[in-house]
Subunit: 407 residues, 2 copies
């Protein structure tokens, strides 16, 4: 039951029904491809004539194409299969992180083309923009046979205003209110979309078609890495909030008297489960203070820690288990406040999932209000799926499939 905002509504015009049904048809083709006009009409519960007209419109815009004839099920004419047209169009995803920046080329459906490219992130916004423009051009030149680039999606670990194309605050990059979109778009001559990485990851999961996961219900993406990034999907839409800062569960406290967090507050979830927090527990000293690391800790990563834990290092295992417990306790807050159908977790710590799942799950049950909540589905998103890059790509590819704004 949604309220109509009397100061911001959209009246249904003559073409509104068509617009709605066109998008439904497009989404059904995406979800069920290959599919015939007749099957589409059955799925939509409209006459074949209507489906044909909708398909005709999508065909004329090259959003879909007619493939080979399918096999006749029983007797009767063979159906013409329809497919989403991701030929001769590509998308570039960019993931800017504190240390390195990653570039990936995909088709319109998000299928990866070529390898992921990366280079060192310059904290000087002008230098980075130049680097990025050059690298993206290079990638597009290397793959000139995959067609025109529809757009570039960029994700940033920080607060973003997607409408203005500005990064409002990215602590790890030291940026405050910089225009990232327009200079890059000008240099490339291609539309650029920017977004916070947690929200983009949530968007990517929302738009990913996986046969094993039902798409309905709210979901939350939690990325545990240097920081904790989160994105929340409510009613098929990424929750943005008043200033596009909704979903920052990383800074909900586990203990307000706890350790200092990078955000300035104390005892945030992030301060308990980030990679540095885990390593700090292992080494028994605070590594989050920003001072240069000593020889022992300089290049030691959470993956190394997990390897030691798996190899039987009791201290390493204790540090990992501790993080697992805090992870579960924080997830409980997400479950109690959002009650999602699914939680996706990404980040280095997930490589230890088989080790830590029981601990996460039991910690989570300690604080969830209901048994249902305690049983909330948790999906691990491995690093090889490049969730942030796929999120960046989704920024470009998803809008074409979005529901029209109505009422």
């Amino acid at each position: 039951m949604r309220k109509i905002n009397p100061h911001d509504f959209k009246v249904a015009r003559r073409g509104t029904s068509r617009e709605i049904n066109r998008q439904i048809a497009l989404n059904l083709i995406r979800a069920h491809q290959p599919i015939s006009r007749a099957d589409l009409a059955r799925l939509m519960n409209v006459r074949r004539g209507v489906a044909s007209l909708l398909v005709g419109e999508l065909l004329s815009e090259s959003l879909i194409f007619e493939g080979a004839l399918g096999e006749a099920v029983g007797r009767g004419r063979r159906p013409t299969f329809l497919y989403i047209d991701s030929r001769q169009r590509c998308v570039v995803g960019v993931d800017i992180r504190a240390s390195r920046t990653y570039i990936m080329l995909t088709d319109l459906m998000g299928k990866q083309l070529g390898v992921v490219n990366s280079f060192q992130t310059s904290k000087d916004i002008d230098v980075l923009t130049k680097d990025l423009a050059r690298r993206v051009k290079q990638v597009l030149a290397d793959f000139s046979d995959v067609g025109a680039c529809e757009g570039v999606g960029v994700v940033v670990p920080g607060m973003v205003d997607p409408a203005l194309g500005r990064v409002l605050h990215a602590p790890t990059l030291g940026w405050r209110d910089v225009n990232l979109r327009d200079p890059l778009a000008a240099a490339l001559g291609i539309p650029v979309h920017i977004e916070n990485s947690g929200k983009a990851c949530a968007l990517a999961q929302l738009w990913t078609t996986r046969s094993d996961v039902v798409a309905s219900g709210n979901s939350v993406f939690v990325s545990v890495s240097d920081g904790v990034g989160t994105g929340v999907v409510v009613n098929g839409e990424v929750m943005r909030g008043r200033h596009n800062t909704a979903g920052e569960f990383g800074h909900v406290p586990l203990n307000i008297d706890g350790p200092r967090c990078s955000c300035g507050a104390t005892g945030c979830w992030e301060a308990y489960v980030s990679n540095l927090a885990t390593l700090s527990r292992y080494f028994g000293r605070d590594l989050t203070d920003g001072r240069p690391r000593d020889a022992e800790t300089a290049s030691f990563t959470v993956e190394d820690l997990i390897a030691r834990a798996r190899a039987g290092d009791a201290k390493a295992l204790a540090a990992v288990n501790s993080t697992a417990r805090y992870l579960g306790l924080g997830l409980a807050s997400i479950i109690n406040s959002v009650d999602p159908a699914r939680i996706y977790i990404g980040g280095e710590i997930t490589t230890a999932w088989s080790l830590i799942e029981p601990i996460v799950r039991s910690a989570l049950r300690e604080r969830t209000l209901t048994d249902f909540g305690g049983a909330t589905e948790i999906h691990i998103v491995p690093a090889e799926e490049h969730p942030r890059l796929r999120g960046a790509v989704a920024l470009v590819a998803a809008p074409a499939f979005a529901a029209p704004m109505v009422a």
Copy 2:
């Protein structure tokens, strides 16, 4: 940008445009009444002819009525004013609380008719249903001149399945999976809607037309009383979650090593700011353990405490201030995770708002990630506005104004 769920969508039919525009017209009349057909057409940016047809349909369903002619602005024919038709229809709101149950009669727009009626809550569901049916019948008999009752809305402090009409778990009432709706509806012969009280309060604020508050953006209702109830509105819709338990910010922790909470976990926000928590701090002993109170504390309420604080009792002031601080720290979690445009706060503690606002605000700023967040609007909802009862009424009245499900 909303995704169309390929397993649950709604195709636009021939009448869908009309349905959409009819609801928009109805909402605009509600927001701007009295209003003429011509003004309605201008607001909707459609021809007067279309507005006339929509109005005609609403008139024939008695959702609106034509009042007196308005004054001509300049020259020209005088407009006929249109009004929402709340004549000869009424709604009953019921607020079931641990100790007492309250009943209020309103018209369709939520305007209170008569006084709020109350009686002691029986924890036996059958007895309560009987009591309630008798009392509601009595109220309707006393006000037989206000027309037919459109429905009864019931709010319950606990977990509810509105679709099934069942209370799944209400700890303070000791109910687990009881059918409250159907027996009551059968006894009254009137449709009954039930909902969690926090969600209903949020719904009421969403549907309240206040000229001073812009309706757009997310909002959160926080009710601080025996427990902490919350309801979250995202994109004009109350956030329900997978099991209708979304929005339970009362059990997000301030400190996982903190005091035990009624939910079984430790250090929940509720365990710091509920009325009993505040009183416990004042008396220096735990009053939440459920044991019978002693003479000193038996009938002492938070209002009494606030009176003492205002009168200069330093210990009372300290207890209130402490609660204020915890209140602000918890609100920061809401702001960081939902980034609402507005937060509404209800409950006894709000009578001390002038006293505690600076403390709440500064505590909140300690933990909000951005300056915008720290400046989030906070509105106090005084007890005289009966937020829970208005929420109960909204359960019945709001659906007629809701946006049609589309796409």
